[in-house]
Assembly symmetry: C2
Homo-oligomer: 110 residues x 2
């Protein structure tokens, strides 16, 4: 199995806010910086920008700048970014099947 490929993919998605950003972009498709900032309470501008840059550099999100007097920047998922939906879905499915962490004491194993 190609561990390296999955590892690389994981490294891209690691980061405190990347998933949140991605899910917001799955939901709304196109969002401005300030909209993301408002949609994600608790994130600092620095982190938002940083994670956004990472995602952009990795080809997951796309950044569109409108050269206007009040600056306007839009963020959206690239086609490849959208393509990770089934992978996220599979992961979600897996997470949903998590068995309870066996709280009760084993009745037969002393």
């Amino acid at each position: 199995m190609a561990a390296t490929g999955v590892e690389a993919a994981f490294r891209m998605l690691e980061g405190r806010w990347k998933m949140v950003i991605i899910f917001h972009l799955f939901d709304r498709a196109v969002l401005r910086f300030s909209e993301l900032e408002r949609a994600i309470p608790g994130v600092s501008q620095k982190m938002l920008i940083q994670q956004l840059r990472d995602l952009e550099r990795d080809g997951i999100v796309e950044r569109v700048v409108y050269p206007q007097v009040p600056p306007k920047v839009e963020y959206r998922l690239t086609p490849w970014g959208q393509a990770m939906c089934p992978a996220l879905d599979a992961l979600l499915e897996w997470a949903a099947h998590r068995p309870p962490p066996k709280a009760g004491p084993a009745p037969c194993a002393d």
Copy 2:
């Protein structure tokens, strides 16, 4: 979309060595501590133990201790841990479809 579920799943798999460990356990099924240590060059015992504990606490790997004079501990994936194979596969598939980061200058967009 349930961002929280995927986020939680991701947090479990974050960590410099967890993926490596998991893939080794996918490959060999059962491994002793020293075998993992040898199979993963560059990892310190501390990190190996730490990541192993995390994976164990999250119900992904199982730890079997043999009460012998030379201590013997085996690690293997739990059924749930093995169940994440399709998710990893989907992620790998997604990673494989990554388009090249557009190196050439756009010929039509000046």
